[in-house]
Amino acid sequence: MRKSFLLLMLLIVTTCFSQNKQILYNLTSVPQSMMLNPGADFKYKYYFGVPLLSGMSFKVGSTGFSVYDLFANDGVDFNQKLRNVVYSTNRNDHGAINEQIEIFNGGIKLGDWLEDKGYLSFGMYQEFDLFAYVPKDLAILALDGNQNYIGKSFNLGDLSMKSEMVSVLHLGYHKNISEKLIVGARGKIYFSGFNATTTQNSGSITTTVNPTTTVYNQEINSNLSLNTSGISKYLDDNYDGDVAADVQKQFLLGGDMGLGFDLGFTYYPKKNIQITGSILDVGFINHSKDVQNYTFKGYYKYEGNNPNFSDTDDPDSVYDDFNEAIPLDTLYNKYTTWRPVKLNASYQYSFGTATDEDCVCTATEKRYKNAVGAQFFMMSTPRLPITALTGFYQRNVSDKLQIKATYTLDSYSYTNIGLGLSANLGKFNMYFMADNLLEYRDVSKANSLSFQFGFNFIFADSNEPPY
């Protein structure tokens, strides 16, 4: 009990965020930008990522509290800090972790140098996701009990979290359908490593004063359920294997599968104005293997031990009554989870053409030196969607070096400044991005941190005939 509570709290503490990759989005010198918009304006002859190193991204975030609030070495009792955090957050505060690692990634232009038959891109990445709301009412009940909350209805729906690990195999295609418009789509096959979802909870625990009969009216109305797939064997007491290795094996040896797609476009109403949009991960996973559902459903009214002084012997037993009224059931029903859907959109204004000095005089048109614009991000969660608004400035320092600076407003912070750069050394491309730079003054107080980096080989598209 104590351990599981601690685990829950730790999960929530490390929990993170929303997968907004505002710096990478539309930074089209990096191939991974196509993962955020399958219709990104990225042209190449072919490219491939350095296996396992082409794309890494990590993001953690929490609203309402930081690691410092809980773990500061300041002599204050940990339980007091935990209390302060629980009481200062609300039920919509949450934590999230997202981690993505590309296993392989590549792309190739279809058709020869004269014709544009579009661009293919493909690859596989692994993603870990954890999202949890602060289970405020349950935490209060566990910390302080109901003594000071007679009359309060503790909301069991505060418990809402999900965690999963998936491998995603994807194939994308984008094409200029006119001078001004590029559209793209990406199909995805999800392989679920494990999944645990408890987001459909409701119910309450109430204690109210009863002026006439029993001292209190005490009722528990419980509708709790947890769906899991792919984890039952790790919960087994006799399990002594290596979790990491076994999860990997599960990916390949057929866990659960699902399907999904991404769509996106880039549109140039004028040469120096660009509008983009994308919707990602519209898809589902069907969990049918190694499925276990735990439910805790029922209604129980607790009245105490009440003798009636009649001869009939009433086999009242609180313990058994409760277990019968609200049984813990284990079921084995298939279930379906939806991937968190992400929306991106951007508007960009470019200005300042490259000077002749910098011009390498390729046949392609000159790039603008500067761009400013705004981006919008939205992601579905078990409750209200997360949104973020970003303003950015992008500069092509040279053909080989692009930098992008962002300022983002979201529920995690109002002072999120991010910086990213993409550099080409010959065919070798590397990029590095981090946000919440101001928080680096003291990372323990940060509400959210993210960074991405990766290495690719890019062979540029050109309009010149190959020799």
């Binding site: 940990f78 339980n79 566990a142 009990g145 007679i150 209190y216 105490g304 040279s398 107080k445």
Partner: protein, 183 residues
Amino acid sequence: MRKYHFIKVLSLALLLMCSLSCSSDLDFNQANDLKLTPVIEGNLSYFDVPAEVFAANGGLPVQWAYDEQEFDIFRDKYFNSYLQRADFHFEISNTINRSFSLSIVLLDANDNALTTMNFNIPAYSGNTNTITRTEVFENARLELLKRTRKMRFLVMIGQGSALNTSSAGNLVLRSSATVYLEI
């Protein structure tokens, strides 16, 4: 040349940022100090017995009434290990024109008496007639409580003329428990 200069500056800036970034002193071992100390309020027992229950039966006056209840929450070993202290609050009101004595006996699984709580309830004489008491279970007495599986309620009727079916009044027990846990 210029751009390499720029890369140098930039990487220096990044390096500087990384080295200047810092973290307050954190101590994750604090999590081991986690101690949940909920205080739970709950119903314990309730009865509301009309005088007629104590009425003479077949001419013989009833001397006592008796009931035994399963009280098996302490079967739960986790609950037992978390339990630090329990306070039982009793409120007994009597509107019957007779005095009573109530004994609540806690029994273990083999019906052995572990501890007994006795209440002397005066007869009703027109004024509010309520007695309250709190019984605290700590230390050795708490250990007895943890072995409890049954509660026996025993009501002895005081001296006086026999009650009959038209005797007025009720004997009412309302009780609750405050349970101090440490998890």
